[in-house]
């Protein structure tokens, strides 16, 4: 396994950087599912950005004369128990979900990538016996329980939920970056860089890190999808967004009490989560296959 990764890294360094991205894009485009994923993600981003133009009403507006109306009668997706338009809330929910996934994955990368890079590059006691054992231990906690407890310790609310999810994701990013750093550090071109006098920091940022990017890109995309589910879950459990905020998770929390009478309150936010996560998963799979054509089928 390590041999093939090393071989691949070698060919990548020979190929000029611009051409590498062009090749990647060409391979990516061939994969129809990946393109579907990209389209879904782009639609989600556009929905989040242009939410005020798309949503027919204020997502927090309540109209007690129009509560629990089914789709059609009460707008495209019906109205909820407070008379808010479900469609408008789903549209604005894209903002919260996207924000949550960007922030949490950003935190995980910001902490995990440097840690993994330094640890894998220098190795030794701190890597083997301290950092990796801590990573192992944190990964022993079931992800959702860990995120739940961190959110509870921090005090609840959407902001803290994002931080909690980010912290729970750190070990994944440490592992991936470290594994890459371990592979790349022994390669000839790193030796060559050292021979011409490059310092450790320069080797790490200019030579090791760029070669860790492909697997990181895949991990980031898939983590964005998972972060959306995690945010929805925490909000559903009451530790993320407030019930009034139009988060898909808190909409499901509200819908729980009306499962017998108003199915549409639960249906649309869940479908929104499903498509958003599907988009990121397809995109992640597509990027992986484009980077490593051997897995392509």
């Amino acid at each position: 396994m390590s041999e093939t990764v090393a071989g691949e890294a070698r060919t990548q360094t020979i190929e000029p950087r611009e051409r590498r991205w062009a090749t990647l894009w060409r391979r990516f485009k061939r994969n129809k599912l990946a393109v579907v994923g990209l389209v879904i993600v782009v639609i989600m981003v556009l929905t989040a950005v242009f939410a005020p133009l798309i949503a027919p009403s204020d997502p927090q507006a309540q109209d007690y004369a129009l509560t629990l109306r089914p789709p059609g009668e009460g707008g495209l997706m019906g109205t909820d128990a407070l008379g808010s338009d479900v469609f408008s809330r789903v549209v604005y929910g894209a903002r919260i979900s996207l924000e949550a996934s960007l922030i949490s994955v950003g935190i995980a990368m910001g902490v995990g990538v440097p840690l993994g890079l330094v640890s894998g590059y220098f190795r030794g006691f701190w890597d083997e016996w301290v950092l990796m054992r801590i990573v192992d231990s944190i990964q022993a906690f079931p992800f959702l329980i860990l995120a739940l407890v961190i959110a509870a310790i921090l005090g609840g609310g959407l902001g803290f939920a994002m931080i909690a999810i980010g912290i729970a994701f750190i070990p994944n990013f440490v592992r991936i970056t470290r594994a890459q750093a371990l592979t790349v550090r022994g390669l000839d071109y790193v030796e060559a860089a050292r021979a011409v006098g490059a310092g450790n920091v320069r080797i790490m940022t200019h030579h090791v890190l760029p070669n860790s990017l492909p697997p990181l890109l895949v991990q980031t995309t898939l983590a964005m999808g998972y972060a959306i589910i995690a945010e929805a879950t925490l909000s559903y459990l009451g530790l993320g967004a407030e019930p009034g905020e139009p988060s898909w998770g808190s909409m499901l929390f509200q819908a729980q009490s009306y499962l017998t009478s108003a199915w549409w309150m639960a249906f649309s936010p869940g479908m929104a989560i499903f498509f958003a996560v599907l988009g990121f998963n397809l995109l992640g799979d597509g990027v992986r296959e484009a980077l490593d054509p051997r897995t392509y089928d």
């Binding site: 079931p142 989560i273 499903f274 599907l278």
Partner: protein
């Protein structure tokens, strides 16, 4: 044997760090445990006395050692809310979660194995597209939402199964099982997706290898080659993957228990967080995580038993 001992020794630092993390939870939460127990109205003197009683005035290391000593003797402390021993609360709830976990695991394993084998051995046909499509949907769906949809369809509209109303198995086995079907299916379908994808790709790899070609050229039927040769080898990484899945599964059950109002450990954690009863949260999280660590060790050992090369290479 040496492999087993080495593996167990590697578990010790993990258990140590896990215990430190769980223990420090109490010290990290905003607010003072004495205030949680006595209420905000209590006098400073009473709170000081409570802190003394809880041992919160001792140095941190002493507090940790005292706590660990208690844990090792089965004493997880008392609920801050009503003084019930935490271990008693967990023991009441654990059977529900374990039943749910076992059911979910069996369902996900069955679906994953059947769908994985069918799709890999019929690559490129509608069976393959159906199974991979199902798996792709499965990993993208929030399982608690799937549970809600199941309640709407099967409990509310069709009236086939109850949406909630758990009863212990030994009191009313029929009611127990009917109440478990929907939660087990909702979580199991989701969990099976990832396993199926994994089995499919490792099976495809095996099916492309030389020994499979040899088996075919001997004139063996497809069924024999797939089941007797390829699946056996493909199952090796699958065992690890499915074992590791249990950690995620136990985490996911927290939400399942909430949707279906099942009185399991996950719900205990959520309820205790709501009541800020952090000794219970601490004890429950510790219990679940130690279970995960033990399962991981068992999976590794099992892995070495099925594939002796592993133990040899690590010795």
């Amino acid at each position: 044997m040496a492999f087993l001992i080495r593996r167990l020794l590697l578990t010790l630092p993990i258990l140590f760090i896990v215990s430190v993390v769980c223990w420090s939870m109490i010290n990290l939460i905003p607010g003072d445990p004495a205030t949680v127990i006595l209420g905000p109205e209590a006098s400073e003197q009473a709170k000081e006395q409570m802190r003394e009683q809880l041992g919160l005035n001792k140095p941190l290391v002493v507090q940790y050692v005292d706590w660990l000593d208690g844990v090792l003797h089965g004493n997880l402390g008392k609920s801050l809310v009503d003084g019930t021993p935490v271990s008693q609360l967990i023991l009441q709830r654990l059977p529900v979660t374990l039943e749910l976990a076992l059911g979910t695991f069996l369902v996900s394993l069955t679906i994953a194995v059947v769908a994985g084998i069918l799709s890999a051995s019929n690559r490129g046909t509608w069976i393959d597209y159906l199974s991979t499509g199902f798996a792709l949907g499965g990993i993208s769906i929030p399982h608690f939402w799937l549970g809600m949809m199941f309640i709407i369809i099967f409990a509310v509209n069709l009236g086939w199964l109850p949406a909630s109303g758990f009863e212990p198995f030994f009191q009313n086995p029929v009611a127990n099982i009917t109440a478990m079907i929907l939660p087990v299916l909702a979580t199991g379908l989701r969990e099976s997706a990832e396993l199926m994808r994994m089995l499919r790709s490792s099976l495809l790899e095996e099916l492309g290898s030389d020994y499979v070609r040899t088996a075919f050229s001997k004139g063996l039927s497809k069924r024999v080659v797939v089941i007797k040769h390829a699946v056996r080898n493909a199952l090796i990484p699958f065992v690890t993957a499915s074992g590791l899945q249990i950690a995620g599964l136990l985490g996911g059950l927290v939400v399942t228990e909430q949707v279906f109002q099942l009185p399991g450990v996950g719900r205990l954690i959520v309820e205790s967080i709501e009541q800020r009863d952090f000794t219970v949260v601490q004890g429950a999280v510790l219990t679940v995580t130690v279970i995960v660590v033990i399962i991981n060790v068992l999976v590794d050992v099992l892995y070495a038993v099925i594939d002796p090369r592993i133990a040899l290479s690590k010795e």
